[in-house]
Amino acid sequence: MKEWYKEWKKLAVEMRKKILMMCSEANSGHPGGALSCVEILIVLLEKVMKYESPEDPNRDRFIFSKGHAVPALYAYLLEKGYFEPEEIHTFRKYGTRLQGHPIKEKCPFTDFNPGSLGQGVSAATGMALGYKMKNDPRNVYVLIGDGESDEGIVWEAASAAAHYHLDQLTYIVDLNAVQLDGTTAEIMNLGDLKKRYEAIGFLADEINGHDFEELVKAFEHHEEGKPHVILAHTIKGKGVSYMEGNCEWHGKAPNAEQLAIALKELEESSHE
């Protein structure tokens, strides 16, 4: 394992702890889908996106379209010092920078106010088109949920992305296979997403979304004239035994006792 992967693994554990702590204290939030996208966010923000600072006007753009899972981003920003440590206690409280869904004026690396599912995908596609029309080569990344992919606008946007050959645009789908009321197979089967995206005209990669090496490799993939989709298979509630693969933890916060168990499990996993 490369040296930085060890660092990232530690970071992932700390982020997962913070996700659970902020949801538990707020007694609300969406831990399941936040825990599943931790590695994706780390690779994106630590390696893939080009920026000097969040305020850098020329930086790459990022839309957290599955915005309910934003505790993962907040946890990263807390770990990296973009938020003050005590701000973790303000999550979902009035006046906070840590809104229920992120707000671009309040949250670093937030280029769109998501929350209404599917719209971030459409906006990201428009962003890539806008930059292309300005001959601005910067990249646009959008993190999409698999449940979110039920939304028709996702596929309207995907058609436009391929039609306009937006090769500076990358969709990352967090395929944790579980949505609010059940598994994606039960609620609305998505079929073979790789085939669907390829049929539209995307370059598509299907990988393990918890594996840093596979993520890094997938992000390096590029084909001129084609938008790119990374289909990242993950585990909903990753790292907490009683949450993994369980839709009950899509939008429920752990109580103090449950939190203690989860933190203990995560701590133990960091020594593996």
């Binding site: 753009r61 671009k104 280029d111 769109f112 106010n113 929350g115 209404s116 599917g118 719209q119 995908v121 459409s122 906006a123 990201a124 596609t125 428009g126 962003m127 890539a128 088109l129 806008g130 930059y131 029309m133 300005k134 601005d136 028709g152 606008i153 309207e156 946007a157 058609s159 436009a160 039609h163």
Partner: protein
């Protein structure tokens, strides 16, 4: 002032885009495969590099416009009112409104005049849908010239705006020299007997009605509300206080439309007044031609004249 030639406000939108392109090159036009009908195609032919075909996918058309605006372009989003304001309503609310993006939305074929197409296309709800969105500006120009002028005004305005246009050619009652501004009613006629506040192409029929009424000795003040939101309450109150009555006229459902905006503005600010409206009375459209349907909906000059006469009658 008036010209004989009939022109549609949708054509005014198309010409307005060409006018704007003479001065600015930082705006783009998105179209939902209706460029031949909405008036946008003239711009698309002349400036294909800034004309974005979004296909028959109005939700994504609006969502992409939000992202395009974030990159610094000023996007104009064009489709039929029923789709821009209706189908994509929640995308307008969240991707544009809640994101505070500088997007200009245009819905043509509003009201009952796309009658040949039938009820699915006759949008009598767009003002209600759009004005309910916080901070949204809602424009509803009366004729071709005014639409041309408002394209420039909406470009200059920093924020999101919705403008409804119409497929129906109507008389020209305003000029390109008019000094109009968003949020300020245009006084087309002064009179002490009755205040008529009107929006959209109905204003052209209101002006006809005012001529007829003048011959009967009834002098009407005609207030043209090219801006439904924010509503110019000052001009409305000034006139209603003077005449003691008000007739509102719109090609929109009475629920949620311009009439309710005016009623809300007057509430608690004037004493007892006589108030009536010419609007769509809570019904869907159906196929027909405009001339046959306007009397059916009570949206013709004769209906305006009749209701005006009733309002100025002295007896209760």
């Amino acid at each position: 002032m008036s010209e004989k030639k009939l022109l549609a406000t949708r054509a005014g939108y198309g010409q307005g885009l060409l006018d704007l392109a003479e001065e600015h090159d930082d705006f783009v036009v998105l179209e939902g495969d209706l460029g031949h009908a909405t008036g946008s195609l003239a711009f698309g032919k002349k400036y294909p590099e800034r004309y974005i075909e979004a296909g028959i996918a109005e939700q994504n058309e609006v969502g992409m416009a939000s992202g395009i605006a974030y990159t610094g372009w000023v996007p104009f989003v064009t489709s039929f009112a029923i789709f821009t304001a209706g189908r994509a309503c929640e995308i307008v609310r969240n991707a544009v409104g809640f994101n505070h993006m500088n997007v200009k939305l245009v819905g043509s074929h509003s009201g009952v005049t796309p009658a040949a197409d039938g009820g699915t296309h006759m949008c009598v709800e767009d003002i209600a849908w759009m004005k309910a969105i916080p901070e949204m500006v809602v424009l509803s120009p009366c004729d071709y010239n005014q639409t041309r002028l408002l394209v420039k005004k909406m470009y200059e305005y920093d924020g999101f705006v919705y403008m409804r246009t119409s497929r129906e050619p109507v008389a020209q009652i305003t000029t390109m020299e008019d000094d109009i501004e968003i949020g300020k009613a245009q006084i087309l006629r002064e009179g002490n007997d009755l205040t008529i506040a009107s929006t959209g192409i109905m204003t052209t029929f209101v002006m006809e009605a005012a001529e007829i009424l003048a011959k009967e000795g009834i002098e009407c003040a005609v207030l043209n509300y090219h801006t439904v939101k924010p509503l110019d309450e000052t001009t409305l109150l000034e006139h209603v206080r003077k005449t003691g009555n008000l007739l509102t006229v719109e090609e929109h459902n009475v629920h949620g439309g311009f009439t309710e905006s005016c009623a809300g503005a007057l509430l608690g600010k004037v004493g007892k007044i006589r108030f009536d409206h010419v609007a769509v009375e809570d019904r869907f459209g159906e196929t027909g031609n405009r001339l046959s349907l306007f009397p059916v909906f009570g949206l013709d000059t004769e209906s305006i004249v009749r209701k005006a006469r009733n309002l100025v009658r002295k007896e209760e």
